[in-house]
């Protein structure tokens, strides 16, 4: 009896089964980064092993069990989970500065409703405080650099004086502390030539919102005084490219854009070589709250077609939720003490919640500066944000995409469901379909039968994997 028990194989990986077409099942062990496609008998044999049934030792299935052993699904060492959790007082080494809520465009789908809300501008001393805090943290922690990111709520370059002064301040401070410093900005790309010159010569990167097709760009991203923005953004991208600035392009897809997505992606890929080309369905937030959803099957189909078109032109498109090859317990920095400063100096954990008078500000704003200019943190709010990791979302516990998706956007779930408990959204369907594509692609690329991971054997891989804690 003992001998038989010892011989029975053991399931040693978190394994998911995803039904496919033609009565096939995708068998996926995310933490081993292995997968294959089999029929019902394959799945059920794995269940025999899990349940310790005597069929688990049937010699007819030995080859199959050997495959599962190579995949790390049977008889392998325990798999470590990619869990990062922050504790104690935040010690960020990167600051995101929400320089203004004002904007020179009036995008139809703006999540921030920039231009419709009260105009706020960050004063240089607020930026300096944030920069000094992260720079000194980086020096104390022995990091080789700190980072400053200029970001949303409006167009950061509209507050040009604070942008340039804070950059000069950071440069001087980095020299004084003897550490490096990197900086980048998000921008809508409607810039003066003198601004483009400055960005190319001072920043390490930029991320430009550009929807591709000039007609759609002009329709959805008009200038504040009227008229399209496409020609100016194309000019900016061309100058960034000529200047050798690493830049990314973010395409926002509204429901009416879906039929034209391939055309948009072709337009971009045939003219520009962004470091990353990100394609996202528009969020139904802000000005786009009541618009038709783009988180649909039509988007998934268009994304797949656009991916084929992008690859034909030597590029790749990305969607933020589908990240096979990246294992994590979080989608974004909101659980990781992400440190963003509002124009008034409040500390937000979310790039989308940029002012204290916004909805859900009481969830995402977790710090402020006191009279002495010191940052003070609200422990209760911080603890809630830190707890929003996928391993703590009951809703995600049985989703095959969880360690790649990381639990998606907490702000989005809050806005859609109005409940503090994470409950997913329509994006989940998009995430799962595109994640499934990436896994199948990995299997196909590995010869068609099984994806056995990108680096070492599953055993070695698990043993060697380190995660930051």
């Amino acid at each position: 009896m003992t001998e038989i028990c010892q011989r029975l194989p053991k399931v040693t990986a978190e394994t998911f089964v995803v039904p496919l077409e033609e009565k096939r099942y995708l068998i996926y062990a995310p933490l081993r980064e292995t997968a294959c496609v089999g029929n019902a008998r394959v799945v059920n044999h794995l269940m025999d092993c899990k349940e310790g049934s005597t069929r688990a030792a049937d010699p007819a299935y030995e080859d199959l069990r050997n495959l599962f052993r190579v995949m790390g699904i049977l008889d392998a060492r325990a798999e470590p989970k990619p869990i990062t959790r922050f504790k104690g007082t935040p010690e960020p080494t990167e600051v995101t500065l929400f320089l203004t809520t004002a904007c020179n465009l009036r995008c139809t789908y703006c999540y921030a409703q920039a231009g419709d809300t009260a105009k706020k501008f960050m004063k240089p001393d607020v930026a300096f405080r944030g920069i000094e805090f992260v720079a000194r943290n980086a020096a104390r922690l022995g990091r080789d650099k700190f980072a400053v990111i200029y970001h949303g709520g409006g167009e950061p370059t509209v507050n040009w004086p604070t942008l340039t002064e804070s950059h000069a301040f950071a440069t001087t401070l980095a020299k004084e502390l003897g550490i490096g410093f990197s900086s980048s900005t998000a921008t809508n790309g409607v810039l003066r030539d003198s601004q483009i010159d400055w960005i190319v010569s001072h920043l390490n990167g930029a991320s430009v919102s550009f929807d591709g097709s000039p007609e759609l760009q002009d329709e959805h991203r008009p200038k504040v005084g009227g008229g399209g923005s496409s020609s100016q953004v194309i000019h900016t991208l061309t100058r960034f490219q000529e200047g050798g600035l690493p830049y990314g392009i973010r395409v926002t897809v509204t429901a009416d854009h879906i039929p034209h997505l391939v055309e948009s992606v072709k337009f971009i890929c045939s003219r520009f070589k962004p470091k990353r080309l990100q394609v996202e369905p528009a969020y139904q937030m802000g000005r786009w709250k009541d618009a038709p959803s783009a988180e649909t099957d039509a988007f998934i189909d268009a994304f797949r077609e656009a991916q084929v078109a992008a690859r034909a032109l030597g590029q790749e498109i990305y969607f933020s939720g589908a990240k096979v090859g990246h294992l994590s317990n979080h989608f974004c920095g909101v659980t990781q003490d992400s440190f963003s400063l509002s124009p008034d100096g409040g500390v937000s954990g979310c790039f989308e919640v940029f002012a204290e008078d916004e909805k859900d500000a009481d969830v995402f704003f977790y710090g402020h500066t006191d009279d002495k200019g010191q940052f003070q943190f609200n422990k209760k709010r911080l603890a809630n944000l830190r707890a929003q990791t996928v391993d703590r979302h009951a809703f995600c516990s049985t989703c095959f995409a969880k360690w790649n998706c990381g639990g998606d956007c907490y702000n989005k779930s809050l806005k859609v469901n109005g409940s503090a408990e994470f409950q997913g959204s329509d994006r989940c369907h998009v995430i799962r379909e595109l994640t499934k594509d990436q896994i199948l692609e990995r299997i196909a690329k590995a010869g068609g039968l099984a994806w056995l991971g990108d680096e070492e054997s599953p055993e070695g891989k698990s043993a060697g994997k380190e995660f930051l804690l």
Binding site: F16, V18, P19, L20, E21, E22, K23, V37, G38, N39, A40, R41, V43, L46, M47, Y61, D63, L64, N66, L67, T96, A147, I149, H151, G152, S184, A186, T187, N188, G205, A206, S207, P246, G248, R250, Q278, E280, Y283, M285, R304, S320, G321, L327, C332, G333, V334, E352, T398, F400, G424, I439, L440, A444, G448, L449, A450, D454, E456, G464, L468
Partner: protein, 108 residues
């Protein structure tokens, strides 16, 4: 609705008498409909045995480089390229807002 993809028993029919691993066509990850892409079926047997054998074993020098790489913090061994590559961070931010994402340039 809460998704459920846990490993559990699935219904078998007369086509499922044998355990079969299906071959995945290269276009399965990008096709609009996957019908016909799992057509080539390999019965558990020789093809699987081949799959479980080390195909592209490392040379002694590569083994040494791999061992060194495993000790190097922040790096991982890429067995396809046979070299030590920087590991992407599991921390950092990732924004999906309707503005734009600077994060990958900074964090990834």
């Amino acid at each position: 609705m809460k998704p459920d993809y846990q490993l559990k028993r699935v219904e078998e029919d007369s086509d499922d008498a044998m355990a079969e691993i299906s071959s995945v066509s290269p276009s399965a990850g990008q096709n609009l409909t996957r019908r016909g892409l799992f057509a080539s079926i390999v019965t558990a047997g020789a093809a699987l045995v081949a799959l479980t054998e080390p195909a592209n074993a490392d040379t002694a020098a590569q083994k040494k480089a791999k061992a060194k790489c495993k000790k190097k913090k922040g790096y991982k061994w890429d067995s396809k390229k046979k070299k030590c590559v920087k590991r992407s961070s599991s921390g950092g931010s990732y924004c999906s807002c309707n503005l734009v994402c600077t994060c990958d340039l900074v964090y990834y």
